[in-house]
Symmetry: C2
Subunit: 359 residues, 2 copies
Amino acid sequence: MSVSRPGSSLNEIATLLGVSSATVSNALAGKGRVSAELADKIRATAASLGYTPSMTGRALRTGRTQVLGLVLPNIANPLFPQIAQAIEQAASKAGYGVLIADSHGDIAAQTAAINRLIERSVDGIVVVPRRGTRVADIGRPVAVIDSPSTPGNTVSADHWQGGQAVVDHLAELGHRSFLLIGNNPDSNVQNDRIGGMKSRLPANGRAEVLWIENHEKNKGKGAPLGLKDKVAEGFTAFCAVSDLHALRALTELQGAGIAVPEQVSVTGFDDLVFSSVITPSLTTVRMDMGTIAEIAIAALSRAIETETKALPEQLRTTSGTLVTAEQKSVPMALVVRQTSGRRALTPQKMDLLPEGEHR
Amino acid sequence: MSVSRPGSSLNEIATLLGVSSATVSNALAGKGRVSAELADKIRATAASLGYTPSMTGRALRTGRTQVLGLVLPNIANPLFPQIAQAIEQAASKAGYGVLIADSHGDIAAQTAAINRLIERSVDGIVVVPRRGTRVADIGRPVAVIDSPSTPGNTVSADHWQGGQAVVDHLAELGHRSFLLIGNNPDSNVQNDRIGGMKSRLPANGRAEVLWIENHEKNKGKGAPLGLKDKVAEGFTAFCAVSDLHALRALTELQGAGIAVPEQVSVTGFDDLVFSSVITPSLTTVRMDMGTIAEIAIAALSRAIETETKALPEQLRTTSGTLVTAEQKSVPMALVVRQTSGRRALTPQKMDLLPEGEHR
DNA sequence: CCAGATTGCTTAATCGATTAATCAACAAGG
DNA sequence: CCTTGTTGATTAATCGATTAAGCAATCTGG
């Protein structure tokens, strides 16, 4: 396998074979009219020279850079690796490179990040928007991955259904009192997950939502969530909208001497990297980022193609923005591990038992 | 703030003002000889048109794309967000975009990923190599971020010193028996961390290394690490080379009814996102990725500049590869949280006490 | 008052690939 | 035999910015 030599262009091959560069271009692209034998010869020498077309030259002529931008609300997000990996893979398969841009949390920076990408003339952009953000209209196709209930969403996991799966699973195990743990009520994703969970409460069930951000605004950042009290109130199922919060809940419960899953159950979302290695391992819901990414990239590249095709000097609309896919939501999969178990017989009195009864 | 209009080029500004495009280019670049008033007028109309230079056109002419590649061993790595964020920020500040490439774990894919970046003609590459990998010689500047003891390393955290800080801290708290938990003995980073820890064992101290990969090869993936037995053997300090393993150890210990930090201490590395939210929060060592990234990018852009300057038809060396920085290792900072505490008075007998004594 | 320097701008080539337009050669049909 | 069609290639323009070279006009010094 020869490394791409910078010293080979269409022209070089052309002069070497005594033909014009146009013919070489046609031969390699399989377009135009080139005799079969010459085409063969051209391909052979191109291969022997380790010729790699210059993306730059091509981009200048065609107006397509074959690069997509990926804008994330916060690269430090623990979910980011999954997203980036899936997008990179899907994009790569579709012939695109991926340029990353961190919107760094705040909204102005998100716009700035998008503009930087546009200046680098990306062909399209994948945005995982910061909660509550609307993506401004830019002159390029944009795929949004957020939640089905976000206006303009292209494709995403079916968070609502994921929430349903969690509560169905726990109800089956006998649980009736659910403490739903979210971080921020402005997030569409979190609201969907919580909404889905609420929608499947069993007949005699009850649910309460604990928003961590509100809680910390009162009690201070990093303050205990007071879950021991919640257990005393009879809650036996602690369902977080993220594995991160689930882990927080789990360790707080364990620290308070409450046994998981013997006394109470804990569930999360997203199957973050640590979820399978902790003890007890975390029951969670995983999204199929591979499929989501592929749908997003497919929708995007379709839009890019039709855009460039429909632009022979026509109306210069700030064309195609929010891209849509046929399948707008991808089911989530419940991953049952060790933190979810059958409801204890007398959950209400459990906290009165001596500590350390677990295991 | 006007969004970049695709409909404005140097030529457009030129014809609009009745001058040549060369003059416009010179005026905006501050090069050549342009009268002050004309330059002002040009800048003004450029601004009013929302002119953005075409990176593509410029790249074709100058041979510099202002894009760097970032190759990671595995995007799913929990440390990836920190790295990517820091690199993106430093690169962005230096005027570069960042193209990501997942080497997907295996070594062949790492080479393939690098080649894909080269085909996109990036100006340079930042590689966080897969353990034990040597980066092949490509025709572009490469900055390697791994460990000071890796040959060809450009810059990295001082993992050895980080390990020292951990053991110094725990020795101060009275600990003498250290169980060092690593994943894979082939990793230079992990070896440095463990080496640093061993180098600071107190006079009457002892240390044993538990390699998780070996352990799992025998006992099966996800098998308990048997830490309860280790506690019985008298170990009071459990020092992992990553927060992920520390979390695994912590939850296993807690599940076995061993109190942290009252009975034993646990430490990690890297200050992963969950480390501050768990109970008890994890004592760890953080690397200054911001500084590391800046040093790497600075070294890289220096190499890129001298490379293009020294290329006026000179020897076509497969020029400048492994880039070096002046400061090759950046100190790590100990973050003391709740999992590290003073050694219990009678640690050797602790396991004989009834469970649930903690808190 | 004129050679030479300086200033201010234009011409034109270049980077590499793509593609519409053109052209020569030859074949087939009326 | 002349017209039309087809094949296989070349020419040349184009994308947008950069930059060496060139050319007037103005200024400077002796």
